[in-house]
Symmetry: C2
Subunit: 296 residues, 2 copies
C-alpha cells in the first residue's frame, strides 16, 4: 500500500526511527510503500493532514488539541519524541533568563501557537501582550537568532541550541514548561497523527506501520551508529558534525515504546485550555489512541 | 482555497517563480493558500500526485508520459523550467566523454527512468546493458560523485555541475540530448502537473494559480535580486554562494511565459516511445494543456 507521510519539520535527526524503518526496509517488509515528504512551512501540516489530503504524519502534541478544536478530524496514534526540552533560546549576552526580560525584545516563534504560548506567559506574569514584539520565523529560529533578526526564539535544547553553539554563539534556554508550571515538555512531544477516516479503514495496515516504526526505534536506540548511517543515506546534507551532535543530544528523548502517555495528554489538555485553544468539552479519547498497537 | 503543492525535488533556486509568488503574496491575492511541500525521494512524486493524494505539483516532462502510461491521470498545465542542460556528469579525471566511456563504470541515476535512458543510449551504441553498473542515487548525485560512490551521474549543468565546481571538482557533462539526438533537453523540462479530477473541478482557481505564478516568473526574470531574497527567506539554508551561482546559472532556463511548448512534447513523445515507456496510442492532448491560461 502506497502511503504518503508528511513530516512536521524538515527531515532531521529526531526523525531517526522513521528514517531507519524506511532505509532498512521495515515498512516494505510489512507491505507499506511509505513516501516521506517534508513541509516548507510547518504551519501547513495540520491543515494538510486535517483535510485528509495526506492522511499520516507528525505534529507536536499541543497542535493535536488545536487541530481538534478547529474541526480537523485527526488523532495521535503514537509518540516518537518524548518531551524534548523546549524554551525561549537567546544568546547569553541578551540576558533573557526570566519572562520579565523579554520586555522590548523581538521574540521569534514558529507558528500561531508559539505566539499564544508566549502571550500567555507574559500575561500570567502580569505584563501586557504588546510588551514584546512577536516575529514569525517558521523553521528558521537559529538563523533568525544568528543574524540578529530576533533577540530570542522558541526552540529545542537538543536542536536549535546545538546549532547556535556550533555557529559559535553560546545560548541560554528559558524552559517554557517551568514558566508554565507544566513539569514536563510534553506539549512539544512529537506525535504520529492520522486522519480519522484513514484510521477507520486501515487498522491492520496501521498496526503494521507501528510495528515497523517500533523496529526502527529499537535500531535507533540500540545501534545509534547504524541509525546515523540511515539518516545520512536518506539526506546526505545531514552529514555534518552539528547534525551528529543533534542526533546524540536527541537520543535520550526518543520514546521507549512509541505509546501515547496518558499523563502527558492530561497535562497538555489542561494547558491547551489555559491557552484557550480548546475547551473542557473535548474528550481525550478523540485526541489520541493506543489501539493500533494491537492487531485488532 | 487550501492547495498542497508537491515539488519534484528539494526546494532549490529553480523553483524561484513559485517561491516568489508565494513569498510576495501573489497566490494569497488570488485566494490561494498554497502549502509547498518537498519529497525526500523524487521517485515518489508521480505516485503521490497520480493517486490524487496531492493534486498539484512539479515533475519533468518525460515522467508525464511514464505516468500516463501507468494509468495515473495527470496532465501538465504549464512549464516552469525550459530545457535545462542535462547529461552524464563526471569528474574530468574520469574522461567520460562518449557513451563508450561508461563501460565498467558506476553510473548514478535519480530514479527508474534515468536508468532506462542510459540503458537505451548504451544499447543504441551497440553495447550490452550490463557493460556498466547502475546505482540509484536519488537527489544525491553530487555527493555520490564527490565521495566516489559513482564515477558519473545524471545531473543538470546549472545545478549539480555547479555544486561539484564549488566543492573543487571540475567536471564534464556529456549531454543526453545530443547522444539521443533530441536536439533539446526538453525531456527534462520541469512541468506543473495536476490530477485530472482537480482540473475538471477547479478551472477558475487553476487559472488564478497560473496568473500568480506568471507574476512570480516576471519578478524572477526582471528582478533576480528580489527573487533571490524570496528564495533565502523561504529557505535560509540556500543562503550560500553555491546556491546563488546555481540561481544565476538557472536564470536563462526559466520559461518565458509558462506555456507548454508543443514541439517539445512531440519530441519527448517520440523519445518516450523509443524508451518503450509509452506507446503510439497515447494522445498528446492527454498529456498537456494550455487551456488554463484562459479564464474559461
Amino acid at each position: 500500500m502506497h502511503v504518503p507521510f508528511l513530516l512536521n519539520w524538515y527531515l532531521n535527526p529526531y526523525h531517526a526511527p522513521l528514517v531507519v524503518a524506511q532505509e532498512m526496509g521495515f515498512f516494505e517488509k510489512y507491505g507499506i510503500d511509505l513516501a516521506i515528504i517534508e513541509p516548507t512551512n510547518p504551519s501547513d501540516v495540520t491543515k494538510i493532514i486535517g483535510t485528509g489530503a495526506i492522511k499520516l504524519g507528525l505534529k507536536a502534541m499541543v497542535h493535536c488539541f488545536a487541530a481538534r478544536a478547529r474541526g480537523y478530524a485527526i488523532q495521535s496514534i503514537a509518540t516518537v519524541l518524548d518531551e524534548p526540552p523546549t524554551g525561549l533560546i537567546s544568546p547569553l549576552k541578551q540576558r533573557i533568563k526570566h519572562i520579565a526580560d523579554i520586555q522590548n525584545k523581538r521574540i521569534g516563534y514558529v507558528g500561531e501557537f508559539g505566539k499564544i504560548m508566549i502571550d500567555n506567559l507574559v500575561q500570567e506574569a502580569g505584563f501586557p501582550i504588546n510588551c514584546y514584539e512577536a516575529i514569525r520565523v517558521g523553521m528558521d529560529a537559529t538563523q533568525a537568532i544568528l543574524t540578529g533578526h530576533v533577540d530570542a526564539a522558541i526552540g529545542i535544547a537538543s536542536f536549535q541550541q546545538i546549532e547556535l553553539e556550533a555557529a559559535g554563539m553560546p545560548s541560554y534556554l528559558m524552559p517554557i514548561d517551568e514558566m508554565a508550571q507544566l513539569g514536563c515538555c510534553c506539549f512539544c512531544s512529537i506525535q504520529v497523527i492520522a486522519h480519522d477516516s484513514f484510521l477507520q479503514d486501515n487498522h491492520q495496515m496501521i498496526h503494521r506501520f507501528l510495528q515497523a516504526l517500533q523496529q526502527g526505534l529499537q535500531v535507533t536506540k540500540k545501534d545509534p551508529e547504524q541509525a546515523w548511517k540511515c539518516l545520512i543515506a536518506t539526506k546526505p546534507s545531514l552529514n555534518r558534525p552539528v547534525y551528529q551532535k543533534i542526533f546524540q543530544a536527541t537520543h535520550p528523548y526518543f520514546s521507549s515504546d512509541l505509546k501515547n502517555v496518558d499523563r502527558d495528554w492530561q497535562k497538555v489538555k489542561n494547558y491547551a485550555q489555559r491557552l484557550k485553544i480548546t475547551d473542557a468539552q473535548l474528550s481525550l479519547s478523540e485526541c489520541y489512541t493506543n489501539r493500533f498497537f494491537s492487531p485488532v
